[in-house]
Structures are given as C-alpha cells and as structure tokens.
Symmetry: C2
Subunit: 331 residues, 2 copies
C-alpha cells in the first residue's frame, strides 16, 4: 500500500477573485449569463473592470476553494495551478499556503498576468463570473509530478481547466499517474459551458473509466446526459462512474455509488449573502468524507455543511473553522 501523505491533490485555475456588488440592470446591460461563468479576454477584462464598482479581492479558483475547504476540515491537501510572477500571483500563493495547502507550482514570467475573476454579486446573492484566465491557462504537463499524484488518496480535477489545451494535457498526465498509483480521480464539470463544448470528450472520459467520482450540479448533469430532468440524468450517468454526486442548490444533493443512493437536504442558513464558492465547498466537504472513508450520506452531509458556511459571507473560501462545524462527522 502506497503511503498517502495527501488526502486531496487538486489541479485547477489559480485565480484571484475581484468581487463587486452590481444590480440586475448592470448584468442585463452587459448581456452576461446571470449566475454563470464566462471566459473573457484581457481587453474585455480591462473594459469590464472599469465599468464595475469598487472591488474586494480574495484568492479564489474553483478547485483551489475546494482544497481550502479540505484543509479547513483538518485534512491534508495540495494544489497545482499556474501563476504569473506578479502581485496577484503573490497574493494567491500566500493565501493558499497560509491555509496549510501544499503548493509548489512555480510562477512564470512569460505567461501573461495572473488570472482574475470579476464576480458581480446581485442583491439576490447570485454571482455572475467573468474570468480572464491569463497565466492559469498556461499550466502545462511539466507542473504535474507523478510522485505527488501517487501520494494522494484523491486527485481532483477542475472542469473549467478542460477548456484550454495545455492544462488538459496536464490533467491527462495526472490521470495516468493516478491510475498507476491507485489514486481515485474526481472530476467536476464546473459549468454548463464546459459540458456544451466538450460533451463527447467528457463522455469518452467516463466510458474509459478514467473518472471515479463525478461532481455535477443539476443543470450540468442534465446537459451531459442530454436529459431534461435530474432523475433521468442520474439514471443515465450512474453506471458510468463509481460515484456520481449531483448538487441541487437549495434542494440539497444526492449521490449514487454502486447501486447505493443517498439524498441530503441543504443545511439551514441564517442569511444568504453570496453564493460564490457553494459548489466548490460542497466538493471539499464531500471529498474530505471520501478521503476518510465515511458512508456516502455523511460525505454528502459534510459537503452541505461546508457549502452553507461559504454562502453566508462574501468570498469563496471558508471564514469559519470548518472542522468545528463538522463536529462528530470527522471526529
């Protein structure tokens, strides 16, 4: 049995979030898909930034938020993501390391600027995201160390990174190393646009049994399975992957593993502030449960607890001690 010094190793976009309040009229005027993420180029990033209100900056990135959750739960996590050698890159590096997450990807000076996500939070707490990928999309296979993959119980891959070419090659390399080492491979579909652009490719990954744990929200699951309701999507996907996890916003989440199914409701919250990071933190909680070998229902419950924490404040990383919130579940 390999020594697993890491519970979760994630590969994702290394992004600094810029969070600003916006009203619905602004979202509509800009023609943004509300509640979703879209990729923008540098010129659009500059133009949009000038048009938006004052921002609050904090490290983000979907899979990076997930490992922040894993670390806050007291488990060992590592992250791979490409930064530029600039101030935003230094902020990202500081933040993720200060959470106790192992992060050794070397920042580069020839990859453009560090990625940023301009997040507009509307009064209904929904976030509409505009991502300038910059350096993050220049993550290459050289950033993946097979020995690190082999040291992890779970490898977690961010679907957003399936879009650019170089990171896709990096993720293939990591999946190969995981298969070799017996590391479980988890993958999140991330967003409807990822599914739309790469449906055949993603189905092929499932058919080749390269993915052990698949995360999707309801819309992504329906889109991937080309079904119009969640139960049909679950039925279509559940035999293609060892563990299927589908999140359903305020309706909770469900998981199916080898014929076993579990459903959990969303946790009660006091005040919904900003839904940024909800799915990321759900995945963090679930993966922590999986790494500890918890029953399916308890892993889902951990996911729901972590998601509930992050949506009650601005920003996509936990502020409370998630380990304390998890209580007996991880005792």
């Amino acid at each position: 049995m390999t020594d697993r010094r890491l519970d979760v190793l994630a590969i994702g976009n290394a992004i600094v979030d810029v969070i600003a309040d916006a009203d619905d009229a602004f979202i509509a005027r800009e023609g943004m898909p509300k509640g979703a993420m879209r990729l923008i180029d540098e010129a659009e990033a500059v133009r949009l930034y000038e048009a938006m209100g004052p921002g609050r900056e904090a490290s983000g990135g979907s899979a990076a938020n997930t490992v922040a959750g894993v670390a806050s739960l007291g488990l060992k996590a590592a992250f791979i993501g490409q930064l530029a050698d600039d101030q935003l890159g230094a902020i990202f590096e500081h933040d993720i390391r200060s959470l106790g997450v192992e992060f050794d990807t070397k920042a580069k000076s020839d990859v453009g600027a560090t990625a940023r996500c301009l997040i507009l939070v509307t009064p209904d707490a929904q976030r509409t995201m505009n991502t300038f990928l910059g350096a993050a999309q220049r993550l290459g296979p050289d950033a993946v160390d097979p020995a690190q993959v082999a040291a992890a119980r779970i490898l977690y891959l961010e679907g957003y990174l399936w879009d650019p070419e170089e990171p896709r090659q990096a993720m293939y390399k990591a999946m190969d190393a995981a298969r070799e080492a017996g590391t479980k491979v988890a993958f999140t579909l991330s967003d409807g646009f990822v599914v739309d652009r790469h449906r055949a490719d993603l189905m092929r990954l499932l058919d080749e049994r390269r993915i052990d744990i698949l995360f999707a929200n309801q819309v992504e699951a329906e889109s991937l399975a080309e079904q119009s309701d969640v139960e049909s999507a679950v039925a279509a996907l559940k035999d293609k992957v060892e563990t299927l996890v589908v999140t359903r916003h305020e309706h909770g989440a469900l998981a199916v593993r080898s014929g076993e199914r579990a459903d959990v409701p969303a946790e009660r919250i006091e005040k919904l502030v900003d839904t940024t990071g909800a799915g990321d933190l759900f995945a963090g909680g679930f993966l922590a449960g999986e790494a500890r070998g918890l029953p399916l229902r308890q892993s889902l419950k951990l996911g729901a607890i972590c998601a509930a924490e992050v949506i009650q404040h601005y920003g996509a990383r936990p502020e409370a001690d998630l380990r304390a919130l998890a209580g007996d579940l991880l005792a």
Copy 2:
C-alpha cells in the same frame, strides 16, 4: 466667490489594505501595539505577510476612506495620493474612481511598490495595522495643483502623511493654496505616534492658524495637549482652532466651534465586526455636513452614522448607501 466644484479634496496615503483574522496570541507574539498603527519596512512587510493567515484585499488609506464616505453621501470629492505603477496601484485607482472620486495623481514607476497595510482583526473586532508605505510616502509637492485646492470647500489632510518628508512639503503647498483661496483646512492627527513624533510641529501649525478643523480621537487629543483627561485636552485645544472634533469610540463624539459645543452618542449597531475605518468614516460624515453648512450637532450625527456603518462589516469603506442612511440630514 470662487466656484467650488468640489466639497472635499483629501491628501493621504494611497494604500491597499490586506485584512486577515488573527488571535490575541499572534498580536502579542509579534509585539504589536494592539489597536494602533505602526510603520514597517519592506522586509518586515514580507516577513509578517508570510506569518499571517489568508487575506482579503480592498482599497484603503485613511483619508481615501474618508472621501469614499463623502462620495457615498452624494457630495463631490477628490483625492491626491501616490501609487506605484503596479497591480495594487491599479486596484486602488479603479476603486476610488469607481466611487466617483476625482483622482488624477499619476502612478510612478520609480517609487517602489504601492503601499499596503497588513490589518489583523482580532475576535474583539479591533484592528492592529502594519503599514508599508512604499510609493505613498513619495508623494511630492508636484502632485498638488493649487487650482484644484481652490476648487474645494474643504482641504482634508491625513496626519499619517505628516511623517515622511516629501508629503509634508506637498501638504504645506496645499495649505498655502487653501489659505489663498479661502478653502477651509481640516487635519486629522491620525494616530498617537504622529502626535508623539511631531507634537511641537503640530502645535506650531495650530498657533499659525493654518488649521481650521482639527480631528482627534480622545487619546490623540490628550497627547497633543499633554493632558490626562479629555475635558482638559478640549479646554487646552479649543481656542487654537476654529472647529475641534474629538471622537470617543463607543462614547460618541464632541465638537467645539467658537464657544459652541455639541456632544453626540455613538449610533446603535447590531454587530461589531471590524473597527477599521471608523475614524475615517466619522470624518467623512462630519466633513460632508460641514461642506453643506449644517449645524455642528448634525455634522457630528452624520459622522456617527457613517462610522456605525463601516464597523459592521470587514473593510474600511462603506458598503451600504450612506446617502440613504443619512436620510433627512442631507436632504
């Protein structure tokens, strides 16, 4: 009568705040003066940043926070402060302009990095600040345009900037232009260390009647007057300045002008989160009242309303619409 297109023109440190949670043990171990500000050099800024937890970044700077408040109240404000030509500088510039504040100081590439303030917030909501001044202390007299000073009803000067040499010369130039144009000069003592280092110099400014409105918190007032209680300090200072304003944290604030005195209590708050910016926003509310020619008590009340808003969330700039909170006071 000069045309006053600006209500308040402020000169201060252009700083990006980096806010992180910390416990009392960390503050003690670092030997920081809890609740106060201290200046640190670049090496110490790097070391401390590595030791602290994950941060949230937001534009700050004392006088800049004040004009953010003035703008949020619906008045016209402008700011002068030195940035470096880097990513943090771009963030500061974006944020202050997006508030509608006029800001034309050109960022420079030969002044080090943009200033940052590492703010540690303890569970009691107190903030302990560690400021690396960087580019901000390189603000020179060339950044001050006498025509802009003349266009303002009130010139507001940040005491923190009295410490480095170049900005002090810039503030002298601005005070001269203000006297020429009949612009009122307001000055905040900013911090006990400013008073300790420059007591004689500050008293001379008062004796020369260069300052029309003096802001001090209780400790700063007592220190400047070398008195051990606030009433003795007020008695010693009130005839040296047209308007004296003394803030007293949860005990409210008082002002004395030409023999008239007003006292107001602190506004009631729901939850104290982070006291960063309390004094800055108090000054913003008070100056807005002054610019509109309100009675002394109403200006104090505006200050108390603005301070109450900013201490109920993280960060030193208003998140709510202060104009709405001010209600009839500015109608």
